[in-house]
Symmetry: C2
Subunit: 197 residues, 2 copies
């Protein structure tokens, strides 16, 4: 295993132990079992390690979601439902999530949201194109529709940026389903998986 | 004029002079013509002044947009077109905008985006309700539609979060117009003001 991965694993482990917030570069190096000097070869600061860890965690989440929907097959709506369920249930360490929501980590948080939108939108755009081919969607802008869908899911539904009751949260998902069904000229209720069973 | 406003004006003036980045609390107090001690009565740090200035600038922008559309009158589509034009042309100091996009100010930037969405969405939701009354829109979720529209405009169209060519930018606006026209069951082309004349 390469040292870079060991360093990221070490910081992730410190998150699990609830010690990441106060951990120094030395603490991370010690946990990774490498010399502090060796660590600086890969990362210049704790922020850089955190940045790389966040990128890796979200990439893993997106790759495993993409692999899952390939395995499951199905039509475009079934694939979108699978993808949404896998995205929602993907495990992101709560202490990492909390850390990203601290004001001093807002830049890394913003970057992580933009990264999710950029990577996942390509997967979703392909599924929308598949749906057009299957005759269940009409869509002249699959890439942009995917990006708009993801903007709502990552930005508008963020509970820290927009403190919201569960009724408001469900209301946003119902409105998103309504807008997608009409926008894609898909059957009424076909996006009900966004807000219910 | 109250001292708080004087302090905010001083920081805004420092932005216009290109000196805000390096200005200390003392510099802001001096510019405002008040004692440094007096300043701490209102704000504990430069970050707090910046935070308040951003809130004031965006509130002013939103209030003047709202006043403008009230004056102009017109049907819901005309009001939305006015609001969009006034939002785009509203002057925000470029140096303030640049400052907000620096990584260390990401928290204030995020907060400012969320504030725009929360305040403007109420104005837009009222216009959508008006359009439903006028029979030019169908919409069961006016508040949520307004929030989704604003998420795309503030988050997905942010040029720093999502570096994009002008073709990509226009593509997003065309897709947004398409989704709104279909979602609101409004006439094709009725949201063309988003991307053209």
């Amino acid at each position: 295993m390469d040292k870079k991965e060991l360093i990221l694993d070490a910081l992730r482990e410190l998150f699990r132990e609830g010690k990441a917030g106060t951990a120094s570069v030395s603490d991370i190096a010690k946990k990774a079992g490498i010399a502090k000097g060796g660590m600086y070869y890969y990362f210049r600061s704790k922020e850089e390690v955190l940045d790389a860890l966040v990128a890796r965690e979200y990439n893993d989440r997106i790759k495993s979601s993409a692999a899952l929907i390939e395995q499951c097959g199905g039509n475009a709506l079934e694939k979108l439902a699978h993808l949404f369920q896998s995205y929602r249930s993907a495990y992101v360490d709560p202490s990492l999530d909390e850390y990203l929501h601290m004001p001093q980590n807002a830049a890394i948080h913003q970057k992580s949201l933009a990264q999710i939108v950029s990577s996942l939108s390509q997967i979703i755009a392909d599924i929308l194109r598949q749906g057009v081919g299957e005759g269940i969607f009409t869509c002249a802008y699959p890439q942009e529709y995917a990006e708009m869908l993801l903007s709502v899911l990552t930005f508008l539904l963020d509970p820290v940026l927009f403190p919201q009751s569960s009724e408001q949260y469900i209301g946003k998902l119902k409105a998103l389903a309504d807008m997608l069904e009409k926008g894609l000229q898909s059957e009424t209720g076909s996006f009900a998986f966004l807000y219910g069973e």
